[in-house]
Symmetry: C2
Subunit: 223 residues, 2 copies
């Protein structure tokens, strides 16, 4: 870094935007906020906020997450930093985008809440978005899809314990392709990342399923 002027008033604004994913029903969904003020009043957008003096980028992202969903300590990953000169018509703003994964069941009021101006949208049927948020969303979806293929990242979308068929459903929904049950189970169990809980799920008129949990609560690259 150079020692050019440390004049803060010359500096752009810095925000943190959060692409929050969940899976509910049979769709990958993203959390959006309806804007109240101009520009783009009434338009949907990705939730975000300004970086504060005494917090790191990661802390800002966790704070925004907490403010919007009431949930903390979830999986967050820095995605990309967007800095087109005219991306905000009011002022020069650069935004550090993060993406987050959260199990549908862990959300405070699953489905019913409909807090004020927040909404969950299937990523394939999202409305028009403010600013360059369409681009940010697309970037996040691409990254999630890619990363699902070579990591255990989907653990962030599942509750503490789950059936192998739940896990398979996550992969199928995220990557939008059907998988073979036997090969899938073989491969997953071979990773050594899963552990039987000993408990069995019982819901529905069929044979009960063994419940599993992830041994590591962090992203690991497979193979």
């Amino acid at each position: 870094m150079n020692d050019t002027k440390y004049v803060a008033y010359e500096q752009p604004g810095v925000t943190v935007d959060l692409v929050v994913f969940t899976v509910s029903g049979d769709a990958l969904k993203v959390l959006l906020v309806q804007r109240a003020a101009e520009p783009f009043a009434g338009c949907w957008s990705i939730p975000g906020g300004f970086l504060r003096k005494n917090e790191s980028l990661e802390e800002a992202a966790q704070r925004v997450m907490q403010e919007k969903t009431g949930v903390s300590q979830i999986y967050l990953e820095q995605l990309y930093t967007f800095g087109r000169v005219d991306r905000d018509p009011r002022a020069r703003i650069i935004t550090v985008a993060y993406f987050a994964l959260i199990p549908w069941k862990n959300l405070p009021h699953p489905g019913s809440k409909k807090v004020a101006d927040l909404g969950w949208f299937a990523v394939d049927h999202a409305p028009d978005l403010a600013f360059d948020h369409r681009e940010i969303l697309q970037y996040a979806v691409d990254r999630l899809r890619a990363k699902a293929g070579y990591s255990n990242i989907v653990y962030g979308l599942l509750p503490e314990s789950f059936r192998l068929s739940d896990l398979q459903r996550m992969y199928e929904i995220i990557c939008a392709e059907k998988l073979d049950k036997r090969n899938f189970r073989k491969r997953m169990l071979a990773t050594g990342l899963l552990q039987e809980t000993g408990k069995k799920d019982q819901a529905g008129a069929h044979r009960p399923a063994m419940l599993y949990r992830f041994i590591k609560k962090e992203v690991v690259f497979l193979d």
Copy 2:
């Protein structure tokens, strides 16, 4: 993004830092600048500069590259944005780090130049670095090594035309492992990304080598 205050003087400074790699001899090297002023005066650091009002992040990175090496239009990729609160003792600064690849032969005065306060260092023997630049460098090296494995990214380190043995050397130096010549050639030619130039290199007391070029001048994922 929220509509909280657009007060620029509350905002952190934004810089762009550039981890510039090249391969020379048998080592992966990085470009460093020796700092003149405090803090960390005399200490080596990653080159960078403040983001200007009328340039995007990418443009700023290309400008810094031009300023430091005299080279433009090279492969640049955004790496990560670093924002620890105390990463700069003077003021709150967040930095968007990029990494760049450049063929040793394309540098203005290969080796001899030694422009002022610039130097090339083997990444495995880099000196202590200012600020959090050690962390940034490590992040860049990890990314380059990983990406070499599943993309054609090394094209950025080679001149327009090159021998297959040059290409193999790049992989071996970057990933620090020896590769089998026949398997390597088979795999590379199978990607369909290489094209014979028709010309042959002639340098040295041995059979001349066919020169190849990359068909695509962009990063492509393999397999």
